[in-house]
Amino acid sequence: MSLVRQFREGAVDFFASFGAACLFMLRMLADTPRALLRPGLIFRQVHVVGANSLVLIMMAGLFVGMVLSLQFYNTMAKFGAEQSLGPVVVLALVRELGPVVTALLFAGRAGTALASEIGLMKATEQLAGMEMMAVDPIRYVIVPRFLGAFIAMPLLTAIFNAIAILGAWFVAVQMMGLDGGQFWAPMPDNVDVFDDVLGGVLKSVFFGAAAGLLAVFEGYRAHPTAEGVSRATTRTVVITAMTVLVLDYMLTAMLI
């Protein structure tokens, strides 16, 4: 009985939050045209969010590419299929791992920073202060941060992919002794620019929107206390990670 009730309360809570997030999204979209008139604010956020995550994304990309190449090389060598290693690794990267791992790292690095920054601005009455100065905090603070995350995510994903492919090449060709030509030559026939590469970019666009929305939403509705801000930060990572993984499946199912 109480389990049923708990489940029901959880479900109600979920849908209430989901609805609130959607309304918040609509409000941001309504203010986006006017926020676009201030590109300086948006570029600054792209810079902050992007530079925050850049080194992390590059390191992660390098090692994900390397380990993927190592695993596939050893497995495929058993079947004598190592000449297909290049396309297999690259497909896995640009279609799946690039967008997903970038989004997860982004949530942990930039998403938490955004949520706690906005939460703290709320706790220290900076947002209320702006309202009293007749400056809409949604337009001045929230929308530029959301758009910053939205723009930065595909760029970071592209950088992740590029570095990961170089890492895969390094392991396969330099360490395992695969011929460089064998690594690169099958690419044009097997990796499609539109289906594979742009499909991955499209995913990262959705992930950018989700990660940006959740970070600013959780920050904006945080309780203006130390505990509230810390909860908002945690929720940002957890909910963004779950959302990205669910979205990933749904997008993959639609794109295939």
Binding site: G129, M132, A134, V135
Partner: protein, 271 residues
């Protein structure tokens, strides 16, 4: 008092938070050009009253007219237009932490006007000079002391030359020197700029020295009003308790609770 002299007119204001009634029929007139104080014990909703008047909160009933316009009925754009005429000093200053003191004061000008940089610079430096912090223009908010942050925020609150300014607990947590500086600034700004000032506070001596008229708020109502001198001589038990700082009176020492014998001897665990 003729109607044109009243800048802010509050009638039948009711506001509740959850089950707790904060205001139950409050009527207040705020005359133009004066320093008005809202006083009362902590937790009576003085700050809430400021937020209602400035449209940050919506009352459950009643009207709040500022210069004839009903704040409650205004839409967002009209409210923002009205707020350009208001300065608001938050308790902690609410300075934007990523901007220097100078940029904080310049912020409303940069957002709302197309003035050239040189003019903005002069205006900002003049306001900072007025609060005595021209020398701190390049400091970041984290480097300012509490009193300095509040003075920078005060410079920011008057940078648009507003008609009225609201002070939310401007004396809390300040050392005596900073407190004296703020008291002097409230007085001087009111005279020099021709402002209407509304001060929320519970510091009796400071308010007595700046306010022209005091509204004493307790228990959701206005329980006393008049000049500081009139309040000091008042016979009302509410006013007496507050002005003289008596521990017990109409505002009881004990927060409402069950009979203590029931709680201690009743055997049932307290909730």
């Amino acid at each position: 008092m003729s109607n044109t002299d009243v800048l802010i007119e509050i009638r039948g204001l009711k506001y509740r938070r959850g089950d707790k009634i904060i205001f139950d029929g409050v009527d207040i007139d705020i005359p133009r050009g004066k320093v008005i104080a809202f006083m009362g014990p902590s937790g009576t909703g003085k700050t809430t009253l400021l937020r209602l008047v400035t449209g940050q909160l919506r009352p459950d009933a009643g009207t709040i007219r500022i210069g004839g316009e009903d704040v409650v009925a205004l839409d967002r754009d009209a409210l923002y237009a009205l707020r350009r005429n208001m300065g608001f000093l938050f308790q902690n200053g609410a300075l934007l932490t990523d901007l220097s003191a100078f940029e904080n004061v310049a912020f409303p000008l940069r957002e709302h006007t197309d003035l050239p940089d040189a003019l903005i610079r002069d205006l900002v430096l003049m306001k900072l000079q007025a609060v005595g912090l021209r020398g701190a223009a390049d400091m970041m908010p984290s480097e300012l002391s509490g009193g300095m942050a509040r003075r920078v925020a005060l410079a920011r609150a008057v940078i648009m030359d507003p008609e009225m300014i609201f002070y939310d607990e401007p004396f809390v947590g300040l050392d005596p020197i900073s407190m004296g500086q703020i008291v002097r600034l409230i007085k001087r700004l009111n005279e020099v700029l021709g402002l209407t000032s509304i001060v929320v506070s519970h510091d009796v001596p400071e308010i007595a020295s700046v306010a022209d008229r005091v509204y004493l708020i307790a228990d959701g109502k206005v329980v006393g009003e008049g000049s500081p001198r009139e309040l000091r001589d008042s016979d009302s038990p509410w006013v007496k308790q507050f002005v003289q700082g008596l521990a017990d009176g109409p505002v009881p020492f004990h927060y409402p609770a069950n009979d203590i014998r029931d709680d201690l001897l009743g055997g049932e665990k307290s909730p």
